[in-house]
């Protein structure tokens, strides 16, 4: 078994999801190779070389890979993939965008959003917004998969320095051009990695009231999330959406404020360790999965809760 991980990074630091993917891959083989494609990203390769399970880092450092577009990175990975039995990436927007393109170039299927690796060819993945779990066996010579990061811990970083090998494959990207990125700046912890997540929904009524969710999150040192209704109403930016089509989180504590608990939202948070729901509607479906439910007016309860912490 030889496993290749595609590193997600911003050309400076490795994304924590990469470390979780490496750990997930431990179920297949004890050591992995990691490919780092980007521009001026040697520091990322060095950082990854310190992860205990990493045997080799393949560095494709060229201006053509700067925006990490799927068009040329998929071609780069497809060129080296025949030496591997498994190719993995995190199921983030980066991995979701890139991996099916790699799979198709290799003429193999893909296993998406894997939550458990049972053996080298069999995995478990959620379907129907997490309302069913499918055990799937792949018959392909190369297994391409994306890994649900909320289901895995990060791989430990050690002292050992794996070998960094330069790849001299340069594939220009002439059909697709990166124009700009509008990043959402936040002092709070990353939503997908936070220990505590406080999420707000339609029940907050307006953008100003969402500040209550932010205050509570800050008191608990947590991240903020939102339901689709809150995002669509413009309370917060859409990268904070938790659910089937947004982010999947599994923090130690998830506090849902003014969120009814639609199937699509539950898909993104029902593996949280402790779920608290605060809602004025005692019949809201969120109460069926909440460990602690509090019925009442959130405009009275939230300030009281913030005050008492």
């Amino acid at each position: 078994m030889a496993t290749l991980i595609i590193a997600e990074h911003d050309n400076q630091r490795v994304a924590p999801e990469t470390l979780k993917t490496i750990n997930a891959a431990m179920a297949i083989s004890p050591s992995v190779s990691v490919v780092v494609a980007g521009a001026n990203c040697r520091s990322v390769a060095v950082e990854i070389s310190k992860v205990a399970a990493v045997e080799q880092v393949l560095l494709a450092d060229d201006a053509v890979y700067e925006a990490q577009l799927a068009e040329n990175i998929s071609a780069l990975v497809a060129e080296i993939a025949d030496q591997y039995t498994h190719v993995l990436a995190p199921a983030t927007t980066f991995g979701k965008n890139l991996m099916p393109r790699i799979a198709a170039l290799l003429d193999v299927a893909q296993l998406s959003d894997v939550i458990q690796i049972e053996s080298d060819d069999t995995v478990i993945r959620p379907i129907y917004a997490g309302n069913a779990l499918a055990r799937v066996k792949s018959n392909d010579p190369i297994k391409v998969m994306t890994v649900r990061c909320a289901a895995f811990e990060p791989a430990p970083v050690g002292e050992a320095g794996a070998k960094v090998t330069e790849l001299d494959i340069v594939i220009p990207c002439d059909l697709s051009q990166f124009i700009s990125k509008q990043a959402v700046e936040s002092e709070r912890p990353e939503l997908a990695a936070a220990r505590v997540v406080v999420s707000g929904g339609r029940g907050l009524g307006d953008k100003e009231s969402f500040a209550l969710v932010e205050k509570l999150a800050d008191k608990l040192g947590g991240a903020i999330g939102a339901s689709r209704a809150a995002v669509d109403a413009g309370f917060v930016s859409n990268d904070l959406q938790v659910g089937q089509t947004g982010k999947v989180v599994a923090p130690e504590l998830y506090i849902a404020v003014g969120i009814s608990g639609a199937i699509q939202h539950l898909a993104g948070m029902k593996d949280s360790k402790v779920i608290v729901a605060i809602n004025s509607d005692p019949d809201a479906p969120i109460f069926q999965i909440a460990d602690y439910g509090l019925v009442g007016d959130l405009f009275e309860l939230l300030p009281e809760l913030i005050e008492s912490l």
Binding site: A70, E71, T92, T93, N97, P100, R101, I102, A103, A104, D107, A109, Q110, L111, S112, D113, T122, P126, I127, Y128, G130, N131, A132, L133, A134, R135, V136, K137, N139, D140, L175, S176, Q177, F178, I179, K181, Q182, A183, V184, A192, L220, R228, D232, S237, N238, D239, Q244, T245, L253, I263, Q264, K270, V274, D291, Y292, G293, L294, L305, S308, L309
Partner: protein, 249 residues
């Protein structure tokens, strides 16, 4: 320019699915079916491109049993011009769907292909990217804004951490995110008119695609149930429980 839109028939998103007792899959008999919500957004975007004069013809395509013609008719009622039904009783994997669409693209030569970012049943999020790879075309996945300018298209993508803007050379493959638009409803006159719009039926073998399986679903089970929780009556009680019982704060 022609716009090709791929759509899928799925269990209605508001239905609570039930896993079959023999663990082979999810119950679909007598369950309400609908067009996949992301596909509705793709159809809407295509129709808007036509209304703004950027596209001349909107073709919708779906692969599956005969009953997926219902969803194709819905798309025609929403404003698509004609439909292609790829007739197969076999459950298709995303790679096979991508190969079928590749074959349709070779026949129809669309300037743009729109698909939903994922179907809400298998949650794969693969077909658009695979189609782009097979046809060697650029991809704009998870689009929340699409602007055609001459022979290029600018796509704003919903990515982790914010938004990203790309410029792609047409023909391009675009997959839709929820924020792209608000799909319209079909009016009764349009539903009547849709019955007269052309619907072509074609088989995978006529498209030159051999259906092969790369994967095998061994078992489909229900996820572990969460234990019913407790209702607390005050903020003080909640804080106490979180501190002393759950020990999370």
């Amino acid at each position: 320019m022609k716009v090709l839109v791929a759509i899928k028939r799925v269990i209605d998103p508001y239905v609570k699915v039930r896993v079959k007792s023999d663990d082979t899959g999810v119950e679909t008999n007598n369950v309400k079916m609908a067009m996949n919500p992301f596909c509705e957004i793709a159809v809407e975007e295509a129709v808007r491109l036509k209304e703004s004069g950027k596209a001349q013809e909107v073709i919708v395509v779906s692969a599956g049993e005969e009953n997926c013609q219902e969803q194709l008719r819905t798309a025609l009622a929403l404003g698509a011009d004609r439909a292609i039904h790829i007739d197969t009783e076999i459950n298709l994997e995303p790679l096979t769907v991508a190969k079928l669409l590749q074959s349709v693209m070779e026949k129809e030569l669309p300037g743009l292909v729109l698909l939903g970012k994922q179907s809400i049943d298998s949650d794969n999020n693969q077909v658009a990217q695979m189609l782009a790879a097979l046809t060697k075309r650029p991809q704009g996945t998870f689009a929340s804004e699409v602007n055609i300018e001459g022979d290029t298209v600018t796509v704003v993508r919903e990515v982790d951490g914010g938004l990203e803007t790309l410029k792609l050379t047409l023909p391009a493959i675009i997959s839709t995110d929820l924020r792209l638009n608000e799909p319209r409803y079909a009016s009764l006159p349009n539903i009547m008119k849709a019955k007269k719009k052309p619907m072509e039926s074609i088989t995978p073998s006529e498209l030159g695609v051999e259906v092969v399986w790369h994967q095998q679903i061994l078992e489909v089970t229900s996820p572990p149930e969460r234990q019913g929780g407790t209702q607390v009556t005050s903020v003080a009680e909640l804080v106490d429980k979180l501190k002393n019982e759950a020990k999370v704060i």
